[in-house]
Symmetry: C2
Subunit: 197 residues, 2 copies
DNA sequence: ATCAAAACGGATGCTGCCTCCGTACTTGGT
DNA sequence: ACCAAGTACGGAGGCAGCATCCGTTTTGAT
């Protein structure tokens, strides 16, 4: 009441119920079948018609972005822990691993992520999250550089790409051992004064 | 004649014509629309029915492998040049670039390539080529290691993965400048006694 | 209880994949 | 030149997924 400016109706109950059901089901399907999973199947299993899914999430990316929202928040939460670390090199390392896990949430995720990172598509719902991640990476890189632990030529964007690549390779089913070797290679690439193995 | 063992008929003329037309058209479509291009469209433009395409090439990978055959030979030819180089480190570098270009022939190519590299699918027509490339890379790596120019911990397979990653990123439309930065990062990762930039 | 706005979902048209099967073509022999 | 046997062809068709339209139902407000 009072001088209330909210002239709008209260949002309908079924909207929220359907949205929640869609998100829940979509997450399960993305986990099981990758980002290319059938949206029709998601709708059916969520107990709604296809049109309802498309009304809530006009594109596959929109649905993906919404499902990813939860995980993004987990990532932000992790940042707090990482920032506690005294060693900026260690912080960067952990941050990269955290990003890589985020990128590996669903098989096939790196592709739409890269498409969004390239930006120039301001309506892509994944673009904003991507740029936030790149900025964050750059922060960690700069801190480590100030401490003399990372080569001066490295930028956050480079390591964003590297983490995305590793996640992509992981998604193709490569063995964990090969991934570790690749991670080591990359780490040798950005670190300063490392032991020439 | 003579003690001829060739009891077989001469292969029909239309078979070869159709095969050639299909390969030619497929290459164009792969170039323009990536490896995911519509096979139906390829068949139609080659002037044959869908069944003919599938009879010649039972799977998309089979067609892809056949189209790639030409380019594979170019790659092998390049090896001769590269082997002429006195410097094994330089040779490795050029070999990696050559592989990367090969992987970037069509957009989307790295995915089926990685799937084949993981092997365990002996009937995948791309598996053999992949393993040949990995072996070749290992040769170059070992030579460079003997010359003390590459870290001892690095293996050919690692750099195969790295080259594949770069090609994948290139395929997503990333700017060439970013790619160069990534290549530099990787090079710093495998080289010994480099100038800590 | 009633109304209008809001949301729903089945039906639909489209594209691409892949296979079956009747037909047409090529080869080798006469 | 012709024929028979075998080979390859290609249109038709079933299936799955995408995305949209529009008549119907649900919902919140009065």
């Amino acid at each position: 009441m009072s001088a209330g400016a909210q002239r709008e109706r209260k949002p309908r109950a079924d909207v929220q119920r359907n949205r929640a059901a869609l998100l829940e089901t979509a997450q399960r399907h993305f986990l099981q079948h990758g980002v290319g999973t059938s949206l029709e199947a998601v709708a059916k299993e969520a107990g709604v018609g296809p049109a309802t899914l498309y009304r809530h999430f006009p594109t596959r990316e929109a649905l993906l972005a919404a499902v990813l929202q939860t995980r993004s928040e987990e990532l932000v939460a992790r940042q707090a822990d990482i920032d506690q670390l005294g060693d900026p090199a260690e912080a960067l390392e952990q941050w990269l691993r955290a990003m890589e896990e985020y990128f590996s949430a669903f098989s096939g995720l790196p592709d739409p992520l890269m498409a969004a990172a390239r930006a120039q598509e301001p309506d892509n719902p994944l673009t904003i999250p991507c740029h936030i991640l790149i900025s964050a990476t750059d922060q960690y890189v700069r801190a480590a550089q100030l401490a003399g632990r990372v080569r001066a030529s490295v930028r956050g964007h480079d390591l964003f790409l590297a983490a995305c690549s590793v996640a992509w390779i992981k998604g193709t089913g490569t063995e964990e051992e090969s991934l570790d070797r690749l991670r080591t290679l990359i780490a040798s690439g950005y670190r300063r004064q490392d032991t020439q193995a």
